[in-house]
Structure formats: C-alpha cells, structure tokens
C-alpha cells in the first residue's frame, strides 16, 4: 500500500480540454471513436472519457480498487493487482466469461463484442509506463494539473488538505477513498458525486467480502455434509436390516 501509486483527480481544476482523452488513445494505440470527445463514452476503444455537467467537467476511468471485485471473481486469474496497485488484465488467460463486467461496482470493464477473439478492455493505469518511471498518459497530458500522480498516502494527504483549506469550494467527500473498499483513483469535486454520474451508495466494504462470507462456509458444508450423509447411510441401512430381521422371525413364527 505504501509504495502503491494512484491518481488524484480534482474536478475544480479540470477545464474539459480532452488532452487526457487524446493521450490515452495515443498511449494505448486506440482508434478514434467519436468526433466530439465530450460525447464519447467508455468502450472497448476508449478507456477514459471527459464528461460535461453544465460548467463542470469530470472524468470516468477504472477506479483500480484495493480489493477489486473483478480480480476476485475472475476464475482463471486473468485480472490481477499489479505491484503498483493498478488492476491489470492478461488476455491470454481470459476465457471470456464476463463475470468481471457483471461484478464491477463501477461498471467499468468493456468488451470487444465485435471480434471473435474478444478481450476485456479498461484502463490499466498505464502500468508499463509507471513501472518504467514515467507518468500515466492522462496525467502527463493534463495541462491544469487536475490529475496528479503519486503515492497513495501522499495523494490522500493532498486531497484532505484541499478539502480542509477550501471547504466552500469542495463537497466534503473524497470519492474513491472508501467506495467499495477504496481504490487508487481519488476524486474531489465541488458537487455531490451522484450529480456527476458516479455510483454513490457503495458500501465501504470491499465487494469480495460479500462473496467471501458465503465461500468461507464451503469447507464446513462439505465436511459436515459428508459426515451427516455417511451417518444417515449407516443408520438407515441398520434400520432396514433390523426391520428385515424382525419380518423374517415373524414369518417363521407364523409357520
């Protein structure tokens, strides 16, 4: 956690220029998908978008959860946490069950529906660039420093300071710090987050916990069930044998 890195996005600083959108496409070799970047939406060829809400601009991208639902549900482990904290995807392992898309609380993963060898597509926080010591594409491109990159504890500190030093300017909540157990993309904004199209009402509990509560009962169900069934097998067998013996002795008496 200490060395893990992430992005802090400050909605108040964003001017909606779309530099992050363009850079993302360039870094990931993605084809153009819409003439007007403000009208585009996340897709298999768009990993981040800039959205316009009146005067306010905000971004959507993978939140890179600390305990991602997608990682926990992937049966072959094609989605993994990288050492940097990014949630990365290995297409060679993927079998294409799309449970990750279903499970993601932010509904981020997209699919290459149009091909016969489809991949899951989403932001990977430019994991290769970060590991090579570079900034993520979108952060590097941002002219207003609305998106900054750094170690998570430092980013949290900065966000908290901004909320504290200018309480009138900011809605007092850091989105992504606790949502679904928290993640590596933090967002601060002047307005409540549901107004910006973010999924609010997410629990602070990581999503995999919901499954774990059921999964952890499996060993006891298996062992307990096995014992119970074996016991029932012997008991009912014995009972039948006794009944049979009784029957045959009765029969003999009758003769």
């Amino acid at each position: 956690m200490l060395n893990e890195t992430g992005i802090l996005f400050d909605v108040t600083l964003c001017e909606g220029c779309g530099a992050c959108y363009d850079m993302c496409k360039e870094v990931n070799n993605l084809p153009e998908t819409n003439d007007d970047y403000l009208k585009d939406h996340l897709s298999d060829n768009t990993f981040t978008v800039v959205e316009e809400y009146g005067e306010i601009y905000t971004r959507k991208l993978c939140m890179h959860c600390n305990e991602p639902a997608c990682v926990s549900v992937c049966l072959v482990g094609a989605i993994k946490k990288s050492s940097t904290g990014a949630v990365v995807y290995d297409a060679d392992k993927c079998i294409g069950c799309r449970y990750c898309m279903q499970a993601c609380p932010h509904s981020i993963p997209r699919y290459e529906w149009g091909t016969t060898k489809p991949r899951i597509r989403k932001c990977n926080l430019c994991d290769d660039r970060v590991k090579a010591g570079k900034l993520p594409g979108c952060v590097e491109a941002c002219p207003t420093e609305a998106a900054i990159f750094g170690k998570m504890d430092e980013l949290i500190e900065i966000a908290k300071n901004r909320l504290k030093s200018d309480p009138d300017k900011y809605y007092q909540h850091i989105y992504g710090l606790e949502e679904a157990g928290g993640g590596h993309v933090l967002i601060i904004s002047p307005v409540p987050f549901e107004q910006l199209g973010y999924v609010s009402k997410l629990t602070s509990e990581p999503m995999p916990e919901f499954t774990m509560r059921a999964m952890e009962k499996i060993p006891s169900v298996a062992i307990g069930g096995g014992l119970f069934l074996s016991a029932m097998f012997w008991l009912t067998k014995r009972k039948n044998e006794l009944a049979k013996e009784k029957k045959s002795t009765n029969g003999k008496e009758n003769i």
Binding site: S248, G251, N254, I255
Partner: protein
C-alpha cells in the same frame, strides 16, 4: 420480459403438444380418463392398477359413481385373482333391493365358491350379462351391476381410494400370503417360495384345505 417470454414459450410448447395429441386422436397421460393410476406389482409382471376415480370396499368390490347417478359395482383385482382366476356364477337380479352386506356376486376359484357382499344399499337397475360364467380378465371393464343408490362412496371410513386403496390392497396381498401359508397342508413349500420374494402362483386354490374357503370369505370378503 425475457422471463415472461421463456415461460410463455415453455407453456406454448406444452399446449401445442396437447393439440397435436388431440389431432392424432391420442390422449396425454395426465389427462387421459383411463386407468393406470396407482400401480402395484404382484404376480411376476402383473401390475395391479388402482384408478383414482374408483372407490374400493373392504369386501373387494369396486364402486364408481356414474354421471347419470347410477353406481357401477364390480370385483376388484384382488377379488378376481386372489386364489386363482375368478369366474362369476351368479349376480343379484334386476329390480332386487340390495342391502349393504347382502350377496351381490357369487363366483368361484376353481371348484370353490365364494360370495361377494354388496357394499351399499340400493336397487339393482341392470346387470352386465357379459360377465356370467366367464373368467374376469380386466376387472375394471367388467362391471357387474348398476344400482340406484343414495349411499356416497366418498365415505372414507367405509371405502378406500387413491393411495389409501393402494396401501390397503398391498396389505391384503401380504395378508393373503400368510393366509395361504396357514391354510396349506404343504407348508414348507409354499412358505419358502413366498419368503424368497416370490409371488403367488395362479392356482393357489388347489393347495388349500377344503374348509379354509370359509375362512377366506370371513377374512377377506366381509365388509
């Protein structure tokens, strides 16, 4: 919507199947009026059917209330096979006023004669002429007499139906095995056969002592 669609498709296919059967002149097992309701395997390969629309009296006659109010009475599969195949010798006569417990049929297993008792009060309306002097092959098709009666066969204390009837008939058959054991002079032989899981042979009556047929009537044909 998808849920409704899949459900509708499922029900639609079932409906089409019913229509197809109707066109082919066949009936679906769930809706055919005919028999084979409760089955009980007795003799090797022989199955006893207990149709759910019939009622059974303890004297081994079956009753069926017809739509026209008449009550049909016949001999049940136990009665028609208990000690070999039964042939009917006599029936109550048309116009006769039957009392519950009065003689309704007289039949014979081989050379032994037995009486079946009327399960209800009523007046005999008609008699099936086709059954006299013949062996009963299908007990439910050969009704014996039709009665005008006010008694209701749905009285659960007097008559059995459905699974009750099945359990009762099963019980009667196992009682019969012991009965034959007890009344047969060659005990070992019959007994052995039965306890080995074998079944009743078709000609049991010849094994029995002469007087035991009265006990049979008392044990199995009384109401």
């Amino acid at each position: 919507m998808v849920a409704i669609f899949v459900l509708a498709l499922f029900l639609f296919i079932l409906l089409v199947d019913l229509i197809v059967l109707r066109i082919q002149g066949k009936s679906h097992p769930a809706f055919e009026p005919a028999l084979s309701q409760y089955d009980y395997l007795v003799h090797d390969g022989n199955v006893i059917h207990i149709p759910s629309n019939l009622f059974f009296s303890k004297g081994h006659t079956w009753l069926k209330k017809n739509k026209n109010g008449l009550m049909e009475i016949g001999i049940d599969p136990f009665g028609s096979t208990a000690l070999g195949t039964l042939s009917i010798l006599k029936c109550a006569e048309v116009g006769e006023e039957l009392k519950r417990g009065g003689m309704i049929f007289e039949g014979s297993y081989g050379n032994k004669t037995v009486k079946f008792l009327s399960p209800v009060n009523g007046i005999v309306k008609s008699v099936n002429p086709g059954i006299i002097g013949k062996k009963i092959s299908n007990p439910y098709e050969s009704w014996g007499v039709q009665l005008v009666s006010n008694d209701s066969p749905e009285n659960r204390d007097l008559f059995f139906s459905g699974s009750d009837a099945l359990n009762w008939i099963k019980n009667e058959f196992s009682k019969l095995k012991y009965f034959i054991d007890d009344n047969s002079p060659i005990v070992e032989f019959v007994g052995e056969t039965m306890y080995d899981g074998g079944s009743l042979s078709n000609d049991v009556v010849s094994l029995l002592l002469d007087q035991s047929i009265n006990d049979f009537e008392k044990e199995f044909l009384s109401l």
